[in-house]
């Protein structure tokens, strides 16, 4: 079935530069005006007995944090307005209904020590979906493995072989393992581009947990064909397959509020949009010509390879004159969410380091102003936590200070009137309420939008509002915990600590033991702050309670929210349409996972290597992977000795490095496979 037959695509008038400029003036103008007005008010409401330095310091902190909220608020308001008015994003040229697709697209699936069966199940599901369309044959899948764990490396190859047997005719599935994972994901993609990229016009970059329906992939390729000056089209990914309370909460908020936020971003960013590193299609030649990433001088965290490469690649491709779009209308683009607060924080640690590394690109030459805004937004998404933390600390600090050093009402002798320190409590409360409204209002718009569309697959309006309430309660309690985490990350990064590259946990929950180990200090900060405030700044106690309570409850919040929550019912809270009517591609990926998992279930590397078929596949693929890394003669001798013992029935005691070497030694592998028979 050609895609055009099932797809209602039509051309829309292209956006003029003037209109986009006007949109940006409106958004940033309103953001600036609101922030300036609130800052002036805050300046008036601040206590009068603080030093001028402290006054300005608090004012700058307030300006930055309030500005952040204000940008989010206005962006969401415009996004809501756009969604209500239009169903399709204007500006990009949509392909004609009967447009053919002749260009080849490589679908890149970078993988780093991921669950091999899960990755390949998703790939199979996507390929099957693509196979339904005649245009599907223009696509080919590349599993680009950077896995350092030899067990996973071999599993990936076995899964590749098993998946290839079931792959639809005409769609290729290639596997390559990189011996050295230089420059991590960006290096992985670059390796593809320099070796095979020239055979493809486009590449659709995915993450190991990404899923995109075939129709959308074809639509993305056709959009690239219709817009020859476009370098990147980003399809906003939607969270699916969430099981834990934490992940389902994010899944719900992404589905209900995310749409408004995306539409808001698309509204003002237009062709200067960002790239999020996955679920995006890229023009290969444009990428090769303009996105070769430099290695920064100096050591990590600020020097070395660029960690958050996606923003930089978007900025570079834009700098070269190519357009970058984010199209909220592209549906059927999915990803998964970390199952727990700790996994979320672990991912945040890497992103935080990557985003702070962008400071030097932010102030680099020839970067497009909107790209600079993207960098600023990225940096501020972590820095704002530290700023909020400082603002709270100073606010409490001033009240505690006053407890120990009461104000001097008469600073000179024989003074007629006392110098009353003035602090406008009600004004400050009004500003606080305004901030809360600006934070919650976009979420309310999201709920109203869903209700307005009459979408009943969320469990009805009652369930939606319940979800809204619980989500806000949890967000309010967990926000201080994340604030402390992110503030700690910034301090760590500024003091030169590198995050490294950990594999993401995508399934397991948090144990109490781990919860206590990782959150004890936040609980301690919460208890300490509560005691301090109760004794020395009592007037603030109840105002600060939502913050201190969140910190005190960090351990149970983190552990309990990582658990699968509620019965599997279609009427439970946080229900999204994809749970009520699970899309085919999700069902198919789960079905393939069950089947593929069986092949490698309970089999370690050495057990798999007893199978001569898998040994043959592995050796066959070695030729593609590239030269073997240097292991050193001692390790090689050790492995040879251990394998000879193993073949004679000895116990397995190979380290991961030794196993890695074994996978490179063809003769040793062949001998092992034969002797184990």
């Amino acid at each position: 079935m050609p895609l055009a037959a099932s797809n209602e695509v039509f051309a829309v008038p292209l956006l003029s530069r003037r209109r986009v400029k006007f949109r940006r003036i409106k958004l940033f103008g309103l953001t600036l005006l609101t922030t300036l007005w609130a800052s002036v008010k805050w300046s008036e409401f601040m206590p009068t007995d603080i030093s001028l330095f402290m006054h300005w310091f608090l004012l700058i902190l307030f300006f930055l944090t309030f500005g952040w909220i204000s940008l989010y608020f206005w962006s969401a308001v415009f996004g809501f307005w756009e969604l209500v008015r239009k169903s399709r994003y204007e500006g990009i040229k949509h392909p004609a209904k009967d447009a053919e697709l002749n260009a080849k697209t490589a679908i890149l699936v970078p993988s780093y020590n991921e669950d091999a069966a899960a990755v390949m199940a998703r790939v199979l599901a996507m390929a099957e979906d693509l196979g339904k369309y005649s245009e599907g044959k223009q696509f080919g899948f590349f599993i680009l493995s950077d896995s350092t764990n030899p067990e996973i490396w071999l599993q990936e190859e076995v899964m590749w072989f098993e998946a290839k047997k079931q792959f639809p005719q005409g769609i290729n599935l290639y596997y390559r393992h990189r011996p050295r994972n230089t420059a991590r994901k960006s290096g992985n993609i670059e390796d593809f581009c320099t070796r095979w990229g020239s055979n493809y016009k486009y590449m659709l970059v995915l993450d190991a947990d990404s899923l995109i329906i075939g129709k959308t992939m074809i639509q993305m390729a056709k959009l690239m064909e219709s817009n020859p000056t476009t370098g990147i089209i980003q399809a906003p990914p939607q969270i699916v397959n969430a099981q834990s309370f934490f992940a389902r909460l994010h899944q719900f908020s992404g589905k209900v509020y995310g749409r408004i936020v995306m539409a808001g971003q698309a509204y003002w960013q237009a062709w200067d949009s960002n790239y999020w590193g996955h679920n995006a299609i890229i023009r290969v030649q444009a990428f090769i010509d303009s996105c070769g990433l430099p290695v920064f001088k100096g050591k990590a965290p600020f020097g070395g390879h660029i960690l958050s490469h996606d923003f930089v690649e978007a900025a570079l491709i834009r700098r070269a004159g190519w357009l970058a779009w984010m199209l909220p209308e592209l549906e059927g683009s999915y990803e998964e969410c970390p199952p727990s607060m700790l996994d979320f924080a672990s991912r945040d640690r890497r992103w935080c380091q990557g985003n702070l590394q962008h400071i030097r690109i932010l102030i680099s030459r020839k970067i497009h102003p909107v790209s600079r805004v993207h960098f600023t937004v990225g940096i501020m998404s972590y820095l704002s936590s530290l700023l909020w933390c400082l603002l709270l600390l100073l606010g409490v600090g001033i009240v505690v200070w006053r407890y120990f050093f009461p104000p001097a009402y008469f600073t000179q002798s024989k003074e007629l009137f006392p110098a009353w320190p003035i602090f406008n409590v009600w004004g400050t409360i009004a500003l606080f309420v305004l901030s809360m409204v600006m934070l919650f209002f976009p979420k309310i718009l999201g709920v109203l939008y869903v209700i307005g569309r009459g979408d009943k697959q969320y469990g009805g309006a009652g369930k939606l509002w319940q979800g809204f309430a619980v989500e806000n309660l949890f967000s309010a309690l967990s926000a201080p915990v994340m604030m402390l985490f992110q503030s700690k990350f910034i301090v760590e990064i500024l003091s030169g600590m590198d995050s490294g590259w950990q594999t993401q946990n995508r399934t397991a929950g948090t144990l109490w033991r781990d919860g206590i180990r990782m959150h004890w200090w936040q609980t301690a900060v919460g208890i300490g702050a509560s005691v301090l405030i109760y004794n020395y700044a009592h007037t603030l106690f109840y105002w600060m309670l939502p913050i201190t309570l969140g910190m005190m409850l960090a351990i149970p919040l983190s552990v309990l929210s990582s658990r699968v929550w509620g019965k599997k019912s279609k009427q439970r809270i946080f229900t999204i349409p994809e749970e009520v009517h699970e899309p085919d591609i999700l069902q198919s990926s789960k079905r393939h996972f069950k089947q593929l998992e069986q092949v490698i279930a309970d089999k370690d590397m050495l057990m798999l290597l007893k199978d001569d078929i898998y040994v043959s596949i592995h050796i066959y693929l070695l030729a593609i992977n590239g030269p073997m890394p240097d292991f050193g003669s001692d390790l090689i001798k050790r492995v040879q000795h251990k394998v000879s013992l193993l073949s004679g029935g000895g116990e397995e005691n190979l380290s991961l490095d030794e196993k890695r070497y074994l996978l490179y030694d063809e003769k040793l592998l062949q001998g092992y496979a034969v002797l184990c028979k």
């Binding site: 047997k165 070769g292 680099s364 030459r365 001569d612 043959s616 063809e666």
Partner: protein, 150 residues
């Protein structure tokens, strides 16, 4: 029933090498009408393949270090991998004896299945500048844009 379109083995070897480098190897293969045949079972295919390949051995064998047996096995694997991925385990034949398999692997490793079309990604320059002068530059641009002549 397995309906197959067969290619000339020599092309097959080349195309196999090339197939890692292009999406649809079929497009670069010259399909031989003479070699097109409908085969109803795996056994029938294997019998036919043996006879066919043996008759072609002198033509297609370029690597002299391989024995006829090794080469035949290799071609069969290559062939089956190419055409029968969907239906048969490619190593069913090759793993008939372990010795043969090991020899086969050695032979396979000599082939470069993934020829590369290398290109270079030029490293982009990112030069940090003085943030203050950058700010002034934008300020100037903004003023010129707002109040300057069109």
């Amino acid at each position: 029933m397995v309906a197959l379109k067969l290619y000339q083995p020599e092309d097959l070897i080349k195309s196999y090498a090339l197939s890692w480098h292009v999406d649809a190897p079929a497009t670069i293969l010259a399909l031989s009408d003479e070699a097109t045949k409908e085969i109803k079972s795996l056994d029938e295919l294997l019998d036919w393949l043996d006879n066919y390949l043996l008759s072609q051995l002198k033509v297609i064998k370029k690597d002299k270090s391989l024995s006829d047996e090794q080469f035949l096995a290799l071609v069969k694997v290559v062939y089956l991998q190419h055409e029968l991925y969907q239906d048969f385990n490619i190593f069913d034949i090759a793993s008939a004896t372990e010795d043969k398999l090991i020899k086969l692997q050695e032979a396979m490793s000599e082939y470069k299945f993934l020829p590369e079309k290398k290109v270079v990604m030029p490293e982009q320059k990112i030069k940090v500048c003085n943030p203050f002068s950058l700010f002034l530059q934008y300020l100037k641009k903004g003023f010129r844009h707002a109040f300057g002549r069109k």
